[in-house]
Assembly symmetry: C2
Homo-oligomer: 328 residues x 2
Amino acid sequence: MATIQDVAKKAGLSRTTVSRVINEHPYVTEEKKRLVTQAMQELNYVPNSSARRLRRQQTETIAVYVPRITNPFFSHLVEVMEKEAAKKGYQLILCQTRYKKEQERNFLELLKTKQVDGLILTSIENDWSEFEPYLSFGPIVVCNEYSDSAQVPSVYLNQIEGSYLGTKHLIDQGYTKIGYCTGNHKSSRVSKDRKIGFLQALDDAGIMMKEEWFFYNAYSVQDGFAAFKKLSELDDKPQAVFTGSDEVAAGIAKAAFDAGWRVPDDLAIIGFDNQPLAALMDLTTVEQPIDTIAKQAMNLMVEAIQAKKPLSRKEVILPFQLIQRSST
Amino acid sequence: MATIQDVAKKAGLSRTTVSRVINEHPYVTEEKKRLVTQAMQELNYVPNSSARRLRRQQTETIAVYVPRITNPFFSHLVEVMEKEAAKKGYQLILCQTRYKKEQERNFLELLKTKQVDGLILTSIENDWSEFEPYLSFGPIVVCNEYSDSAQVPSVYLNQIEGSYLGTKHLIDQGYTKIGYCTGNHKSSRVSKDRKIGFLQALDDAGIMMKEEWFFYNAYSVQDGFAAFKKLSELDDKPQAVFTGSDEVAAGIAKAAFDAGWRVPDDLAIIGFDNQPLAALMDLTTVEQPIDTIAKQAMNLMVEAIQAKKPLSRKEVILPFQLIQRSST
DNA sequence: TCTGATTATGAAAACGATTTCATGAATTCG
DNA sequence: CGAATTCATGAAATCGTTTTCATAATCAGA
């Protein structure tokens, strides 16, 4: 493996000059530049990134936290982020927290040990105070999730509005008995706000809610099946159900269909995210502009890294859109 | 940011001894060990990974190539790989090649510049000769795809068998006019073999194939819609269709349903992968043991890195399973 | 008690780049 | 023409570890 020293020797110049050529610094004559370039080619030389990282004190790498990459919402987020990062010369390290507090904390060492320049969080399990001390090691940007106490840039959607929009749609369609089926992480601001928006919409319309129409811890298609089962066994059943994701909505729709129910006549269903799945199952859903939040979060991160000082609190808030299909 | 030097000073010892404690080398008295540990804690010290990488000449990082992380087959693969890697103390860098030759080549620099210890390829766009020269910089393991000329370990499934299994099932159900709808990368061994298995099954049953029943470049749900459109406009329509993925199958099923066709009476459909989507749409499908191939590929990679010499050609082949549902 | 191993420690040399500093040559300016 | 810039280059310091080598102290065996 050739080093910069070998190149220098071959070109009959110093390491310094070779380094200047590599990094496109001024004050090198065309003549020497040519010599160096040629020597590099002949030796098949490429600078060793570990050495460069050490000297430069930066890694050109960013860690992205997601709960699970198989969740289509998060894989979409990551897809866009990786593209954007590659465009700017950064790489992505994938950190799956698996909805576990401890797993999430483990990955924080990446920042502290200088394996990455910064952290993008798309979901938050721990209290913000766990992250706070790590800010001195590099920038942290929050995307999708948000926390009031976090003194960092956040790119997110106002989930109160999102769920209000969806719930209002159900109400406008004439439903008055509406169920609520979502995941429900205590520490997740997204969860909390979705519920607030939901209740607000009911309240504004003067509609009552029943405790037994709340179904929690629903994340997957399977969970949707289970939710439908519980729902269908109630004496007083809801006419419509608001869900936290298209997967759950799809699960409910499928289970309902299998049980011989008609959607939306026997049960109206609204999803969240507008995944390809939603189109497939003809689900009405609330669309989130994933591409935009992913891009903006990545841009803020790169900006923070290059500015070399932590960005202060900053919120970037984007709108939702209702996609109406035949499930409502 | 505290360095090992600071710790040494605080503990009244040398860098060497501190390093020994960190790396759990023998020949350090309990007494000094305690001193060092305490100093490290007080200074909130963590070893700088760039320096360690440089000295150790290894990165504890592995690059994984996928076409797109939003493709559920690949996100599943990556999910399992990341888990397995984390277990062994390695991180994953995500490389999306976007089915582009050039993009794929670009990422090869990661290995050459020593940003990663090894490469796992889950899809291959370029000819193997493009990868060959990089073998001197670190191990490469192939997972899912395979290439006859590649002198590296490959964990893959015999796609001839897989598509034979699926096609045979259609034939056993009594269909004789069978369409074929898949992606079709010239350089992909998977594509080629699937087609071979398909044709073989037809041939073994003495069934004829029509050129107009082949539909190529189908990867997504959308592509499934398009394929159905073309199919439905034929004078002589197939009774069943073999697809290369559950997404495509789901797209066809949905389009067929919307057009008022009954599945499987008017058109039988078989998918591939057994994604959650397949259960949802009640699609018969050929299941691939994704968890197993992902784990085995990662284990081979870690083994190769730790053995410090490139592993030779080695094939690990695993079986398929037919999941029958109501679409056939 | 002497010899040879074993245990415990530190000084200094890597690892491979970039950056600072020094210096001489060439150019511009008054 | 001499002084002040600007241009071009290289020697050496630096980034923060780990590893090699040297050395002293302790221990075991004859």
